[in-house]
Homo-oligomer: 275 residues x 4
């Protein structure tokens, strides 16, 4: 459906992150190896944190691989926390308001997957969104509704619980409408300091998700790899699919798991829907 | 806010309708004379009826004045019933799903004006949309919500009543939220045979609206004008502003009026909100 | 690089031509089977002949597979001669003026392939374009320069000779600059009545090209196929890759060949560069 | 035709420069006061210098006033040298490769005005472009050809002379073709340190151009204006039209003049075509 990456660590030039790796996200936009769709050409988005009050967003409906502005900005912008996403639409319109990451205040959200039967469930799901947030919904995707449900359920205070309640609620509504497996998701969200990534699906056959291993160990393993030596030890990546073939650099995030990454420490927590 | 035209009559090449007149709709996209905004450059749309089951739609986020595809298609497409609209956003995103005309089955809808305080009212208005229609809402404009409210209130059976109930409902919800003048609208809708146009606003100071006068009389008045002689006597236009300065060619639609045009006969009915 | 189709015969709804076949051109835009690139998402174009003085053109920088306007127009427009093209850029900008088909008067041109070393050769090739045509060059592709060279060399009077001289000229200039195999092309051009298609490359390993076989024979072979029975016997298609798997429906155009299709008769002529 | 601004001085958030002033460049994109066209909605561009090897470029075909990415980037990017341009096409296509500023290495170029009779002169002008530069021409505007002519005539070594020779050459070619007043231009160019701005036209009735006056004097005049006190004394602006009504803040650049601004010092030199 889509591909994404969540980076935190040493400030990095976006170009190094988005274009340089062998299987970079921009490469995945045209030739994903592990995605349900090989082509993720229905728009893209990048969110990053600088000294500005809000994280920056650059969203476009063009395929990432041929967007010259993305190339240009990537050569100019350096950031220590970056979310990037390439989209393969599951039917909704290709428009900037449907591009990820979505933003609310300093918080970003991006999603790979879908709510099965979304046209059928959309109204009931939307009605539960907090009335004070409702007017901020600008697009027509299931991913954005998931975000606003999570905000409604407390994303700003306790992300794992808010996402668990979101998953539980979507499954309940879906099953009321006869949808066997309502939710498929890998999701990343951040407040600019901590990143939470979730791998979950109702049928427990979730889209792929990987996290980078400890850079220090990798450096010992690959003493001659300049890239690894340029990154600080607190660098962490969570990605839909590995950015390259470096042996030992990536670990699959297990089914039904939440990864919490903050200040170079990451924790894997079991994740399941809450009702 | 926006400018539109609704044409019915002899099959006409879109180019003749959209580009040829002195103050054509494409000219109005850059230099409107009577609009609240002189520039209506936030996208445009054209809807037309051919032999296909559904009316055609061409929607674009580019300004009409520099869109080459609009120019091209206008040189190719001939139709006897055409809706066209140039948009000046009142804040919502510039995206195809926010471009008019909106379509449901064979029915088209376009709007100039706004719901005052829409961000505040949006949720309550949306909840009243018939659940079976809700999932069709793709954009984020007040205009599209108006359309789906009108459909909910019976647009397919009795347009004047459905639009009157829509206006009454929007005003009631708006006033509950302390909005003094919730609705400003000129609206056109058609099923492919009859066109209904409405001029109304809560404060009774509505955006301009004009309808063409009887072609037969005009011909007698301007015996040498070739354009007039090329049009069949049943040709009717309803427009946000006159397409030119031909004396006697345009009559202002009065405040709080519904124009019904069908088969060369037009009727002006008083219009007001229904609760 | 790109994929194209050239249709002539019974008036056909574009939707039937561009979307309906199993391996339709729109499908090829995302998943080409035989192309150098599997993804042809860098814009598209359709040209067609109606009663208007010039053929219509609809060009877009979006991938064909997610363009709603293409879908809409395809449901409305019927034509008896259609050129359609999906683009995979070889480096030049994704912009409408780089989309095929290119047009000059009533003549259309589309190309799959490239001029190797084009940045090096571009100036010398452009200088040979007839000065009266030069100002019409709007884009930056090798394909458009090929078209203007062919026009310069007499495309409007004798297409096979004009294209042969173009090929010969490009090869001469290329080889002067040390390019071993300067030209790779399948090209289609039409005046609205006759279609000429060329398969040629300097190294005689040209991109694939196919033409449809005689519909009458196919009908006998597949008595129950309704599509075949809806097409008139003079229907002809030349395509970069077959639109489906119907056994016997497609023949490969041989290397170094020009196909001439007119009024249901097609001729295959040997083709080679002329100096 | 177009509107532009060239800023140098204290690092400034783009938002402050492009949106905050009463008559900001973004405001001018919709409602220019002094332009030949009130609407400059045919794309825009921003170029800025950071620590990256090349200046950044953000170019878009959308009107500046409704581009959300411009708004976003303006809230994130700070630079001490900024070129910004809003375009009103004089007929050439609205595409990114026709948006200003144009870039060659570290050098930027933007233009307001036109070459009269450009379609007629384009070929002869293009042929004089240095062959090693020719392949870099990506768009179809007179403005880009002017840039490449200036580069050919030594822009990288002596901008005033190179632009003077460009003007002289364009006038000579134009007059050979019977064009009375071939050139109309205000141009700005920079190498990232010095900015050169030119006001010139063949008929000596050039588009407007203004430069900011000494900030120190203004501060004394307006002791309570916080904006003026936030800017360093070396801040300089050259603009198509004043960004606001502050009395004494703007001086018109005289006809046939070159402004050279570097390190807070500016010099006005007489300018005329050279043959």
């Amino acid at each position: 459906m889509c591909r994404w990456l969540a980076y935190s660590g040493s400030p990095v030039l976006l170009e190094e992150l988005l274009y340089a790796p062998a299987n970079s996200l921009v490469t995945q936009s045209r030739h994903s190896r592990l995605g349900v769709e090989t082509t993720n050409g229905d728009g893209f988005g990048v969110g990053w944190y600088s000294t500005a009050p809000l994280p920056g967003l650059f969203l476009s409906t063009e395929p990432a691989w041929n967007d010259r502005n993305l190339r240009e900005l990537s050569a100019q912008i350096t950031a220590g926390l970056v979310f990037a996403h390439v989209r393969a639409s599951t039917g909704t319109a290709v428009q900037q308001t449907n591009c990820h990451p979505f933003r609310h205040g300093r918080r970003l959200w991006m999603h790979n997957g879908l709510i099965t039967g979304f046209p059928l469930l959309r109204r009931e799901l939307s009605l539960v969104v907090d009335p004070s947030l409702y007017a901020e919904i600008e697009g027509s995707t299931d991913s954005e509704v998931l975000f606003f449900l999570a905000l409604t359920f407390g994303l700003e205070h306790d992300p794992p619980t808010a996402v668990a309640r979101t998953a539980g609620f979507v499954e309940a509504i879906g099953r009321n409408h006869g949808v066997a497996h309502p939710l498929q998701m890998t999701v990343a969200t951040t407040d600019g300091e901590t990143t939470w990534a979730f791998r979950y699906s109702s049928e427990r056959r979730s889209r792929t998700l990987f996290h980078s291993t400890d850079i220090t160990t990798l450096r010992q393993q690959y003493p001659d790899n300049p890239t690894l030596h340029g990154l600080s030890p607190d660098t962490r990546l969570v990605v839909s699919e590995p950015l390259g073939d470096l042996h030992g650099a990536w670990r699959e995030v297990p089914e039904s798991t939440c990864v919490v990454a903050r200040g170079g420490v990451e924790e894997l927590l079991p994740f399941g829907p809450l009702r």
